[in-house]
């Protein structure tokens, strides 16, 4: 879930839901997951968002604008604070480049660097690089029903079907009617809880449901988590091709 929600490169995944899906009267875990997945994506989107990072010593806010085409191409430009302004990131398939205007250098993020936090938030570059289609990576089973922020939810347990992915298991709380994920917990292979995600607010955009405010928490990290707030979303927007090239980083 984190991968798909992953902020600046990949638009919040909770977002997208087709109009009036039949209210999921159960079905298998995999079916529910596929519904969530179908709801999550539109071909193109432009998102303006904020990350409010509640660190142990201070709270910082990072603003960015992202252009996304499909799930494999994304371009992000940071707008604030001043120290980060003008920093750009480009994701093309499984490659991630970052451009830093202060050094005029474009750095390929790879290896151990992928585990580093994005702008000091509770999310890592690795989270951003994962395939956002959950059904490609996990098999799901329904374990129970629950109520979250006043919404009826299915609770799904996801188990990885592939090796070498960041989270071996996940638990999702999926809004029964809206097919929106409202909560998620992510686990390592050892069973250790690594991250949590809680949706605080949802909104409806172009007949889809969007998570407007989400709190991410890396449980291995001090601080009170990172609040991700979507300020605006344009779905199916027209995005010029040149944005998805390394040359665009220096423009």
């Amino acid at each position: 879930m984190i991968r798909s929600l992953c902020l600046f490169l990949i638009v919040p995944a909770l977002v997208l839901r087709p109009q009036a899906p039949s209210p999921a009267q159960g079905g298998s875990g995999d079916e529910i997951l596929r519904r969530v997945d179908r709801n999550m994506f539109s071909e193109n989107k432009i998102v303006v968002s904020r990350m409010i990072i509640h660190g142990e010593r201070e709270t910082r806010s990072v603003e960015a604008k992202s252009w996304q085409r499909g799930t494999s191409e994304a371009f992000t430009e940071f707008l604030a604070p001043a120290r980060e302004k003008g920093t750009k990131m480009l994701k093309l398939n499984d490659m991630l480049w970052t451009y830093f205007p202060s050094t005029d250098r474009t750095i390929l993020i790879s290896g151990q660097m992928l585990r580093q936090s994005v702008m000091g938030s509770d999310l890592s570059y690795e989270d951003m690089m994962e395939d956002p289609h959950l059904p490609h990576l996990y098999s799901a089973t329904v374990v129970s029903a629950d109520t979250l922020i006043g919404r009826e939810c299915w609770v799904l347990d996801l188990k990885a079907t592939k090796e070498d992915i960041a989270y071996d298991a996940r638990r999702l709380w999926v809004d029964k009617a809206r097919s929106v994920i409202l909560k998620e917990t992510l686990y390592a292979k050892s069973g250790r809880l690594l991250k949590t995600m809680d949706v605080r607010e949802v909104m409806r955009v172009q007949n889809r449901w969007l998570a407007k405010s989400i709190l991410y928490k890396d449980v291995l990290k001090e601080g009170e988590g990172t609040q991700f707030v979507v300020d605006s979303v344009v779905l199916d927007a027209k995005i010029p091709d040149y944005l998805f090239s390394k040359a665009a980083l220096r423009r």
Binding site: E84, D104, I107, Q116, S117
Partner: protein
């Protein structure tokens, strides 16, 4: 009496030569090993103080708990005020802030693309202030191999070995990729001013040095530093004073429950060297003890052999009325003379070896290639005033014990049997 005994020893070499040589050999080894161990531990202490802990170190409480991991997110903030306060309150130490950090050093090609990259272990130190103690502490002038020392902001020094590996020359631009104290990716350009070699494998593999203000800016640590180090001006660690300063400083902070409040530690405790100090103390005692025991046994045997050879002489002395106690004491006095002579000889030879290795040293670079300990590549002995006297303890005591044990036989001689023995 002493002159009489001395003449006897000098004229009868079989009584003195072997014991003196045995004592000299043992004493020589004791003296040399003491100087060598002293040199090795001093090396470790000095290097650890210079590059890691200082003689005293101030950190936040949270940082101190994980200091090995260099958690800059837990660094001290407001260091200007803190350093000023430390300099005013404890002026007998030189206080200087440092930032340690890890990261990648990226070398671009002509197009700005990555040509080479290597992990580095860096230090931000005060290199540009006129009164900075770092120049002396880090021995910067003699460490310089190529180029020049930092003169302006944006200058960086690279370990010469690292520069060779990355094929970087002074004047080139490199990019440091690290992590800010808030966890963001930090990327900053530096100009390679020069290359350095500290003679410590752990440093020379991957060290980079830049001015503190540059690293503060790069790592978003405005007015912050991981550590503030204190050094005694004579470069010698004074444990008692360091403990006093630490106790006084910490007492002022004890009321605070803030985990970012500063706390001070001493070299002995911060570096984990307390165990080394204790181990070296034990080893020194063991070495002296072992030589003492071995030499005592050898000299006891030598004494027994001597007693057998001097069986007749002792018999005559007893027969003409010399008291057993007097004979025993005179033999003890002889042994102390032998012990003294052997100790002087052994100490002289041991000191000669120790002084030689104090100047020349032994190059252990090949053994330290993968070491993470702050040992210099050349380990030297270190002669201290104690080295001059340490050999006298085992030297004198061993001959004394050897003779004291073997001489007990004197008291077993029966006066009534003496003439009978002498007739045979």
């Amino acid at each position: 009496m002493i002159r009489f005994l001395l003449k006897g020893l000098l004229r009868d070499r079989s009584r003195s030569l072997l014991p003196v040589l045995i004592v000299a050999a043992g004493v020589m080894l004791t003296v040399f090993l003491q100087a060598w161990l002293n040199g090795a531990i001093s090396n470790l202490v000095q290097s650890t103080a210079r590059y890691t802990t200082g003689h005293g170190r101030v950190m936040t409480r949270a940082y101190a708990q994980e200091a090995d991991q260099i958690p800059n997110d837990l660094a001290l903030l407001g260091i200007d005020t803190l350093v000023t306060g430390l300099r005013r309150t404890f002026p007998d130490l030189l206080w200087t802030p440092r930032i340690k950090f890890g990261g990648l050093l990226d070398v671009p090609d002509e197009k700005g693309e990555t040509r080479a990259q290597a992990p580095v272990s860096g230090m931000g130190v005060d290199l540009l202030s006129a009164d900075s103690p770092e120049w002396k502490v880090l021995n910067m002038q003699s460490a310089l191999v190529r180029g020049h020392l930092p003169r302006t902001q944006g200058d960086m020094l690279l370990a010469d070995e690292l520069a060779e590996r990355l094929r970087v020359r002074p004047g080139q631009t490199v990019t440091l990729i690290g992590s800010t104290m808030y966890g963001s990716m930090a990327v900053a350009n530096f100009t390679v001013a020069g290359t350095v070699r500290f003679g410590i494998a752990a440093m020379d593999r991957a060290a980079v040095l830049a001015d503190l203000s540059d690293i503060q800016q790069a790592l978003d640590m405005n007015d912050g530093a991981g550590e503030i180090l204190g050094f005694f001006p004579d470069d010698i660690y004074h444990d008692e004073r360091a403990n006093q300063v630490t106790a006084e400083f910490n007492a002022r902070q004890s009321s605070s429950s803030d985990r970012f409040a500063p706390i001070m530690g001493t070299l002995r405790n911060e570096s984990g060297l307390a165990d080394y100090f204790d181990i070296v103390g034990v080893y020194s005692a063991v070495i002296v003890g072992v030589f003492l025991l071995a030499m005592s046994i050898v000299l006891w045997n030598a004494g027994l052999t001597g007693s057998l050879r001097r069986y007749g002489e002792i018999g005559v002395r007893l027969a003409i009325g010399e008291e057993k106690g007097h004979v025993y004491r005179s033999m003890i006095a002889e042994s102390l003379m032998i012990g003294f002579g052997g100790s002087v000889l052994g100490t002289a030879i041991g000191l000669a070896f120790a002084y030689y290795l104090q100047i020349v040293g032994i190059d252990v670079a090949s053994m330290m290639k993968n070491s993470t300990m702050l040992f210099t590549d050349v380990i030297r002995a270190q002669v201290t005033p104690f080295t001059y006297v340490i050999g006298f303890l085992p030297g004198m005591l061993a001959t004394f014990l050897g003779t004291a044990i073997s001489g007990i036989g004197i008291y077993k001689r029966q006066t009534s049997q003496l003439f009978k023995e002498l007739e045979t």
